[in-house]
């Protein structure tokens, strides 16, 4: 696996190639503010001004570039997918009681839960309305279904908190829905917009699904081993909230019966969880490492789909995203 490039400080993809297109995404996200009532604009504006990595729009743009050229539609697709993502973040922050995101106060920290529930809803319905601009029922349907999957993935995750019968299979289903689905439409619909046949679009959909799944595994490892200062959001919340992520599921899987009983007690314990100790155990047992390996395998698999694209700087960039993500994952190992 080629993981020679050092990971970029705040992203997993080479920004330079698509700098101008990403700027268009950024200004288009900001321009969405004006689709809302003047009384609602300031709230939407706060969310739209919050910087983000814009990974999903970058994927739409790169697939567009690799399939004959980035069009207005690829930019629009990126905006739609990012708006859905932003809406889910607003609701996630309510659910997680998160107070900061990317160093800024969350909407719920600023305006309370009630307004944030509605703000997420408004962003959500606006994104789905925007999808009608494509004049394609098929695309509207794919966007709607992906949005529904994201919500369902989150529901299952919430429902299975502190549930020690939660399996790895359940985990992969949940992260495929909550994260994979949006990555998958970012690349799959981008292919359709470029006029690719259904089979190719499906392969690029699968590329996004696998990359998104690997990305979520990275995010889940980061919650355990990352540095809050560098990541810019509250970490070490998953286990406290009862979310069983891949490293913990790996640990539970390899534990002996007596170890599992100890772990279960620790996880179910409502007293403050001694995370450094648990992390120490997880690393000692190779549970984080094994999660990293799983994500690296997914990255390898997803890169195969790129064979269908003609060589171009965009195809290279899509390939490099895998490399960058792999590099970031490697950092979780130590």
């Amino acid at each position: 696996m080629a993981t020679t490039q050092p990971p970029l400080r705040d992203g997993i993809f080479p920004r330079l190639l698509i700098r101008r297109e990403l700027e268009r995404v950024e200004s288009s996200i900001r321009a969405q503010i004006h689709a809302f009532d003047p009384a609602v604009e300031p709230y939407v504006g706060y969310i739209c001004d919050t910087p983000g990595k814009r990974i999903r729009p970058a994927l739409s743009i790169l697939v567009g570039g690799a399939c004959g050229g980035v069009s207005v539609d690829h930019i629009k697709l990126g905006v739609i997918v990012e708006l859905i993502h932003m809406a889910t973040l607003v609701h996630d922050d309510i659910i997680d009681g998160a107070e900061t995101r990317r160093m800024e106060p969350t909407a719920n920290a600023k305006w309370g839960n009630s307004l944030s529930v509605l703000l997420g809803d408004a962003l959500f319905s606006h994104a789905l309305t925007l999808a009608t601009d494509f004049d394609s029922i098929d695309i509207c349907r794919r966007v709607g279904r992906a949005a529904r999957d994201v919500c369902q993935g989150e529901i299952i995750q919430t429902q299975r908190r502190f549930d020690l019968t939660f399996t790895k299979e359940d985990y992969f289903k949940v992260i495929g829905m909550k994260t994979g689905a949006l990555f998958a439409i970012a690349t799959g619909i981008a292919a359709t917009l470029s006029g690719l046949d259904e089979e190719s679009a499906e392969r690029l959909h699968a590329y996004g699904m696998k990359l998104g799944t690997a990305y979520q595994i990275y995010d889940d490892c980061l919650d355990l081993v990352g540095s809050e200062d560098r990541v810019g959001k509250t970490l070490r919340t998953d286990l406290l909230k009862g979310k069983l992520t891949l490293p913990i599921l790996n640990l539970l899987e390899t534990a002996s019966e007596s170890q599992r009983i100890k772990l279960n007690r620790r996880i179910l314990n409502q007293e403050p969880l001694d995370l450094p100790v648990l992390l120490g155990i997880a690393e000692y047992a190779g549970a984080v490492e094994s999660a990293v390996d799983t994500a690296l395998r997914l990255i390898d698999e997803c890169r195969d789909a790129l064979d269908l694209l003609a060589p171009s700087p965009y195809r290279n960039a899509l390939d490099q995203i895998g490399g960058y993500l792999a590099g970031l994952l490697q950092q979780c190992r130590k």
Copy 2:
């Protein structure tokens, strides 16, 4: 104004004429459960099994009937609009901290706020996905925009709680968005589905908007003067939550300077509000009566739009809805 019929116990429309169509709506709402992941079905099932007045689907059906016949599409439209309505109720109940609705525990009372936020989202995105079945981008767009308006109306309402500069103009804007918008697509899109020209569809859209606005005024009066046992939900919450509804805005408008100061103190006071006293004052000052009159005027206006329909039992029923609602409003007077 014809208000001779006694109001039906649990609705504002003649159910007998469209009994079979409403049963189809009901079973179709229940069938939506299967569009969700098995792990999510029980939650969606609980919401879909909760009985509702189904006013919005009834309107779609009646417009269909009055315009040449009720088709599968009119049933589907009713289901979509009702699902959006149900999604907003799930989120409203979180925001209002409501524990019962129609005598049953709310989703938030049963499963907490986090799961209910996501459940509302899933219903929302499913409803918008379902709209793609019509194979009409125009209809998808109208559904998406109405959903966005509902959320925006709720945002403005939430943002302006305890805001004594909230005007009647603001009130009408808010209720037009949060309630009128869905009534309006229930009738307006039903007309489009029946092949009516744009102007006629717009007139029926306006019929729904005005009827929905009158209905919301009735609901707001009911919160002040209704009986919890008969209505089957927690009442007397609007003012406690700082929602300034039409009767209160009327009272503030007619108050003298010294009375307004007293009212403002009462409304802003965080101590328990002496509602029976305030209600007594509102009734004494004719503030509820004046709100009822406003709603009755809207009902008169909306009934005019029905002239464009050929005489039929369905047109009569649409006309009678106004009559029933007017009858219910009259009951708020005393």
